[in-house]
Symmetry: C2
Subunit: 427 residues, 2 copies
């Protein structure tokens, strides 16, 4: 398989043992993982080619490079577990696809089954005759048949791996004492393409020739307002008679009943006035702005892993139905562009991005890389370190401060800097 040139450690996390977090937690709730993962064929899928082919000059094993950042909250349990296991779930999801992804032809719509695996339908006559007739997917039998790309199979595999990971956390959270939840940002490099999967408010950008290419978007109460309101509207029982799915620009006072106030519902992007009724005095499902926006006054991110026990304070209302474990996956085809050694993919938890803009990150990266020898394998580690140190700031009388004296991040900060080009990347 194609390989990336510089797999040197480019991950830096703050707080490290040398420094203490700026007041938020004594322990780092950020976790990370960086692996090269080998994918073995699924045993219940018949190989597409003859056995001779797969052993001889035929298809090679599949493997992928993997980076994961997990920003925990309410404990590091979910982040620790996900950092140890998410890539294995991705591997499992890819096992059906080992041959398919390395085949030049389109993926088959229906797989040949291993004869040992029986259909689940027990009401039918034995399938002997039909089983013998293998589907020939090369010849479409139906007028209407959607073409599905290999790329979309990898996206589907990653999406389902997040779901499997979340279900495992749910199953094992009591026996393995898995506390809290985590945002998850995972990158898979497979067959020449980066798949950047994000569930939460971590972020990824590519810096190519000084240009910034966003590779993720954040999932917060504000960006996902309409999805959450739609769910609250369709399933009002999830709101526990405490919350309204409507949004208001501020809390309503009881004496404002009957007055007209601005609101918006699950269908609206704009705002309009409505006459306040008793029901509108409930707390809004989505409330607050920016970093202070919350779902049910409880949590500021809307996607991630874990949080199965999270409830509204002093109530029996579960938050989880509103949180999604599904990532958005963006694809970057490394083969479509020329890359120089200074082109990188930067992954960071919100501790980085809250105090350092995309442009500032790009400037730091370019400046720091220019100060190193192009062939120095530690140059990306140095850049990651630089990004963390700048965002952490310096402890002054009035707390941690950035170089411009603005408030520095009080949050955990973790950064990956992954090189996209340079010597060795054309193999």
């Amino acid at each position: 398989m194609e390989s990336l040139p510089q797999m040197a450690v480019s991950f830096i996390s703050f707080p490290s043992p040398r420094v203490i977090n700026a007041g938020k937690s004594q322990h780092n709730e950020d976790q990370a993982c960086c692996e090269v993962v080998v994918v073995e064929r699924s045993s219940d899928v018949a190989p597409r080619a003859s056995p001779e082919d797969t052993e001889g000059q035929g298809r090679k094993d599949l493997c992928f490079h993997y980076w994961g950042l997990f920003d925990g909250h309410a404990g590091s349990g979910a982040a620790v577990m996900a950092s140890k296991l998410l890539h294995l779930h991705i591997r499992n999801q890819l096992r059906d696809l080992v041959d398919i992804l390395q085949d030049a032809s389109s993926p088959p719509i229906c797989l040949q089954s291993d004869p040992r695996v029986l259909p689940t339908d027990r009401n039918r006559a034995p399938l002997a005759e039909e089983d013998a007739e293998f589907l020939n997917d090369a010849l479409p039998r139906f007028h209407l048949e959607k073409a599905v790309s290999c790329e979309s199979l990898v996206i589907g595999a990653i999406e389902n791996a997040f779901q499997q990971m979340d279900e495992q956390i749910e199953r094992e959270r009591t026996t393995r004492l898995v506390a809290g939840g985590c945002c998850a940002l995972a990158v898979v490099y497979l067959l020449g393409k980066f798949y950047v999967a994000n569930a939460g408010d971590s972020r990824a950008i590519i810096i190519r020739n000084g240009e910034i290419i966003p590779m993720s978007r954040e999932f917060t109460p504000e960006t996902e307002r309409q999805r959450l309101q739609f769910l609250g509207f369709l399933r009002p029982e999830l709101l526990g008679n405490e919350f309204t799915h409507l949004e208001f620009p501020r809390r309503i006072q009881h004496k404002e009943l009957g007055k007209k106030m601005l609101y918006r519902d699950q269908n609206m992007n704009g705002w309009a006035y409505k006459r306040i009724e008793e029901d509108d005095l409930k707390f809004p499902l989505i409330y607050g702005e920016g970093k202070k926006a919350r779902v049910m006054a409880t949590i500021g991110v809307t996607r991630g892993l874990g949080d199965h026990d999270l409830k509204v304070y002093n109530s029996n209302i579960h938050i989880k139905p509103f949180l999604s474990c599904v990532p958005e996956v963006r694809v970057y085809d490394l083969t479509q562009y020329e890359h120089c050694p200074d082109d990188v993919l930067v992954l960071g938890t919100d501790g980085l991005w809250d105090v350092t803009s995309d442009r500032e990150v790009a400037d730091v990266v370019m400046e720091a890389l220019m100060g190193c020898e192009p062939n120095d394998p530690s140059r990306y580690t140095l850049v990651a370190h630089e990004l963390v140190v700048r965002s952490r700031g310096v402890l002054k009388d009035r707390g941690w401060r950035l170089a411009n004296d603005k408030l520095a991040s009080g949050d955990d900060i973790s950064v990956f800097v992954i090189p996209l080009g340079g010597p060795g990347n054309d193999t």
Copy 2:
């Protein structure tokens, strides 16, 4: 108020009385409307300024320019009704906002009520004391208060007007014999900004200095797959035991039970394999590709007005819960750019866009306008006519054909060409 220079008729629809539609319908199901609408103050909102102010040099009446395109299906009833009434619903929604939109300060979060309008809460003591204390919105009383722009109030007004229009069609469809449904594309020009509201598969683009700026997106079973699947997943009873919310790339045969086939659910953008179960043999909620994609094998658009009686063929399953009447509203601030007389906003029903690309439309517009005198008021009408004639094609032995001999549109075609600049537009 600011005014647009050239309100000359720039609307052309095909088929006109002179030509017969190319086989689809004898009658044009497209409808259109172009109006200047005056908005009167709502009577139950107290004026923000003193009466002297509003009569003297104070605020002027509010009025807006309006263009609407309504592409009917299963009859022209809904399209006709919407073309006659949607702008009046928009006017009604704007009535609360007449003073607010013309005030330089931020919109008030809570309106002063007219004392004649009583609160709906009947369980409370009389409100005399609290009523006397008018809310002073200039001074935020709460730490947390979201700023809401005038622009977002207009967006909210248009969104709610579409909803009101849809509800009116539902109420009066039997008494007024309103058949079918329609896609709706409406443009409001108010206080220097264009608000382009789209619900369906009509489209709007701005052509500025040869550059194309999309002002809408289409709502079809493919673009709205996840919203529809999410609804089917949360409310399976709406699928009437006939449909599955999962998508498959083709119909599944009964003998494929137990095999692994590609699918995707409401959470997935990618595809994955699943073992086929009995339930998967139901017809997919979303099926088909491109112009042939359908919701419940019935309809190829997912937003619009009407369709309250639409059912799956030979069943009692209603389509409407999956169709949305909510438009997406995009805003274009005319004051932010310099415009020349050849810059236009083009609105068209799908009959135009199915056979003519954005680039082709822009080329026809630029070429046709260059052939006219810049001051000729009929030049935009001529352009609209040219766009319709080209997309309609010419009747040959093998049906209606474009100039390049490709199949021309067999659909109704309607086009507005609205000038953005030129002499008179700086008033």
